[in-house]
Symmetry: C2
Subunit: 145 residues, 2 copies
DNA sequence: CAAGATTGAGTCGTCAATCTTA
DNA sequence: TAAGATTGACGACTCAATCTTG
């Protein structure tokens, strides 16, 4: 349910430390969602659907979540199998397929959000005043300043 | 070739920034290896094989790379198909299978290491004096101090 | 039985090719 | 032709079940 192999032999370089920390955090978040029948990927789709306030074409979802279209097709397949989302035809463009969140999807989304918030508080327990901001700034160095 | 969906809607939380930065870095590293027919996962196995100075049982590899045994079975399958590693029988325990790096594997390992080092320099270009150490410390907060 | 490895099924991603509609 | 979505094949993971050997 995790990310990449940890590759402990290469912990020296900074990127090793970064990938490892990220993996640890992601693992904990995924874990907190798994019991609810959710994942970060699925929750991300639900989040966009909720914030958009209505059905969205799959292509737009893929674009906003920075992934490939075929990935969204499969992700929505699983969400539909879970009963959290349905596909509806776009009346304005017959090529387009819209993802629409269900009642159950909305409920699941709210539960997932609470679980995530709780896990987040846990994760940030060891940070002192102002350290979060510092970390965010330093992480930005990887994105060109 | 990347990690998780980016989930731009949730950039606010610190963990979102962390996962995003990690994904960016990992993507660049993977990219620099892809042209050589390598990946971080594969290079990690080769690295352990080289540093160990001889064949290692698959179980030990899985343990050291912090992944599940079945994952190592498949990873070694691909490495073997690439001609970078071979499976050899363990004379001391007939249950055990050892992974052994080939000449081609060693050559590939060295090329991969160089590519990684070059990409690493690129990645660290925007860091000022002492910032790397600060980042490492802050990332450690996620692992309980 | 316990320890090694493998197999089968499932999740989350990629890419290249295809099919339908604009 | 280009834009939308899907399909098929693959990489890198997970877990549960199995097979062989200690």
């Amino acid at each position: 349910m995790n990310g990449r192999c940890e590759w402990k032999g290469m912990e020296g370089p900074l990127w090793g430390t970064l990938l490892q920390a990220s993996q640890r955090v992601e693992g904990r978040l995924e874990n907190s969602l798994a019991g609810l029948g959710l994942s970060l990927a699925k929750l991300g789709v639900l989040d966009h659907l909720v914030k958009a306030g209505g059905p969205i074409p799959l292509g737009r979802l893929a674009e906003r979540l920075s992934c490939v279209k075929s990935n969204m097709t499969q992700l929505v397949d699983r969400l539909e199998a879970d009963g959290l989302v349905t596909r509806v035809n776009d009346p304005e463009d017959r090529r387009s397929v819209l993802a629409s969140i269900t009642k159950e999807g909305l409920k699941r989304y709210e539960n997932g959000g609470r679980a995530l918030a709780a896990e987040e508080r846990e994760l940030l327990r060891n940070f002192a005043e102002g350290e979060q901001e510092k970390l965010a700034v330093l992480l930005g160095r990887f994105a060109g300043e």
